[in-house]
């Protein structure tokens, strides 16, 4: 189960001046479903492209099953496959889109039966859909056809970027089931990202957190980008937000440093520890999940998004103004 699948050592990838992956070192294990969580722009999509060997890193190496591999390498070409965030279908019928990967491999064996099977795995009826053109599909159907085109290849590693970002609830459900079925087979690994943290935690066996192009040890609940200001009177450092609201921080190492507070350190109310600081925030959303004693709370404080979790009984109502507190010593400078 926990055989090492990928090892990344010092991997960087830049797009122009933008460093999407920054000297990233991480290990991913084979088997089951690994979720990658992180805010937008944290480098998740880039990481997936590198893991799928679509792009090469600018620096560093990627080892797959102990061997360093590169795009177009025959060792990975038919074993790892990626489904991008927006499903891309070629201007061909659904049948040709699903069987395209087989044609590339010059694998002509029982193609129709395999297309039929792959479509049924994502809940699409062969008779109804095989002859359709991409423009005759809804967003969710397109996404499922794209998934069927990957499943037919029977890859060892299936990588998905936001597979349910823009689909209806029914498609989302069908995609999730298809993934769980796939991952349950021996020797299969699924790696995926999602904007929906609770959905991700729900489907994944392991979740790793990503921030600013690197793996971070735990989930970030509050993130603040420089510049920061030192209050001349009190000597306290703050981040100034909307309408003069401020969030207190510790003394930054550089003007452009980024402050991150793990989600588990954020709490409602005014803290009582010696180093506790607090600020006002408005509750935007409270999410509860079956079987979980905790509610997921999303807030906006001084214009910045904050997430934290609290016992179901203590959850505030959306729209309420509350205090959020955290121990200053738990703030990490990145």
């Amino acid at each position: 189960m926990s055989r090492t699948l990928y090892t990344l050592s010092g991997v960087s990838r830049c797009y122009g001046a933008d460093r999407a992956l920054d000297c990233c070192t991480l290990t991913l294990y084979g088997g089951g479903i690994t979720g990658i969580a992180g805010p937008n722009g944290s480098g998740k999509s880039t990481l997936l492209k590198l893991l799928a060997f679509i792009e090469s890193p600018d620096e560093g190496s990627i080892f797959f099953q102990g061997r360093e591999e590169h795009p177009f390498s025959s060792a990975v070409r038919h074993r790892v496959t990626l489904m991008p965030q927006t499903p891309f279908l070629m201007r061909r019928r659904v049948f040709q889109n699903v069987s395209y990967g087989l044609a590339l491999k010059k694998d002509g064996e029982a193609v129709e039966a395999r297309v039929r099977q792959s479509l049924s795995r994502v809940g699409l009826d062969f008779e109804k859909f095989a002859g359709r053109w991409p423009h005759e599909l809804s967003g969710g159907e397109s996404q499922r056809v794209a998934l069927a085109a990957r499943l037919i290849l029977d890859p060892e590693v299936l990588i998905l970027d936001e597979p349910t970002a823009s689909v209806d609830a029914a498609s989302s459900f069908l995609i999730k089931n298809a993934l769980l079925d796939f991952a349950a087979k021996p020797g299969k690994t699924v790696i995926l990202t999602s904007h929906d943290a609770s959905w991700l935690e729900d489907v994944s066996d392991t979740v790793i957190f990503f921030f600013r192009g690197r793996q971070v040890p735990e989930k970030t609940g509050l993130m603040l980008f420089g510049p920061f200001y030192e209050d001349s009177g009190s000597g306290v450092w703050v981040k100034r937000g909307e309408k003069g609201a401020e969030i207190p921080v510790s003394s930054p190492p550089h003007a452009e440093s980024v402050a991150a507070v793990p989600e588990r350190c954020l709490q409602l109310g005014q803290g009582d520890g010696g180093d506790a600081v607090w600020f006002r925030a408005e509750v935007r959303e409270v999410a509860r999940r079956k079987g979980s004693p905790h509610a997921q709370v999303t807030l906006i404080g001084a214009g910045f998004p904050i997430t934290l979790s609290c016992p179901v009984g203590d959850a505030p109502d959306p729209g309420a103004m509350v205090d959020v507190t955290y121990p200053l010593t738990d703030l990490q400078w990145l």
């Binding site: 679509i54 496959t81 991008p84 891309f88 794209a146 990957r150």
Partner: protein, 227 residues
């Protein structure tokens, strides 16, 4: 203005009776145009592919040059090709002057920038996810190239049609390097120029309508192919 109506009826007569001079001009026009469009496709599609698909140093400059070439006047191309193909010119030994291939050389210079620029902009506007999808489905570099080309086939056909329109309607090159030789290098457009020069306006209009009819047939067959 009688000659406009006259021209219309003359066009019908020319087409229905299969007037040999008209048919010869049609054949010459089509031969020269298909040869030049073919060569332009072979050269222009890969060039446009590189220009639209890949990022490289000097790409912007290359695009500006290609876009500028779109404005090349046909008589100037004609003059240039004449200078090269004339027996006094560097390629005079090829004996191409006053032949259909000579016209095609000039028309290739005319069509190449059109096909290159339009192919490049088609590939430019191509969804970045195509490349990603093809590689992730296991395409090697050759398969990637051909599938991408196949995905933009309608764009390339449109580019070829645009170039075809430009090539079939030009008169400067055909006149200059073709010489408007009856039964040999007289194209529809040089024939129109000749008839107009002779004051035979109705004949000129008839030939113009014939050219339009060819364009219609070509476009209809392309739209059938697209379906």
């Amino acid at each position: 203005m009688d000659f406009i109506v006259d021209g219309f009826f003359r066009a019908l007569v020319l087409l229905i009776h299969g007037d040999p001079q008209t048919l010869s001009a049609v054949a010459t026009t089509l031969k020269a145009a298909s040869l030049s469009i073919g060569i332009s496709l072979i050269m222009g599609v890969p060039a446009g592919f590189c220009l639209g698909y890949y990022e490289f140093r000097g790409k912007k400059t290359a695009r500006i040059i290609v876009d500028t070439m779109l404005a090349l006047p046909t008589v100037f191309i004609g003059l240039l090709v004449y200078a090269f193909l004339s027996n006094r010119g560097p390629l005079g030994g090829w004996g191409l002057l006053f032949t259909i291939p000579a016209i095609s050389v000039g028309q290739t210079i005319l069509a190449l920038p059109v096909i290159t620029a339009l192919t490049a902009s088609t590939l430019d506007s191509l969804d970045q996810d195509l490349r990603l999808t093809l590689i992730s489905l296991g395409a090697n570099k050759r398969q990637l190239f051909f599938t991408t080309l196949w995905e933009v086939r309608y764009g390339i056909v449109a580019a070829a049609m645009t170039a075809m329109g430009r090539v079939m309607t030009e008169v400067g090159i055909s006149m200059m390097v073709g010489g408007n030789i009856k039964w040999h290098t007289r194209t529809i457009t040089t024939a129109i120029a000749l008839e107009t020069g002779k004051g035979m306006f109705a004949e000129g209009i008839a030939l113009g309508l014939v050219l339009l009819a060819i364009a219609l047939v070509v476009n209809v067959s392309v739209s059938v192919f697209r379906r």
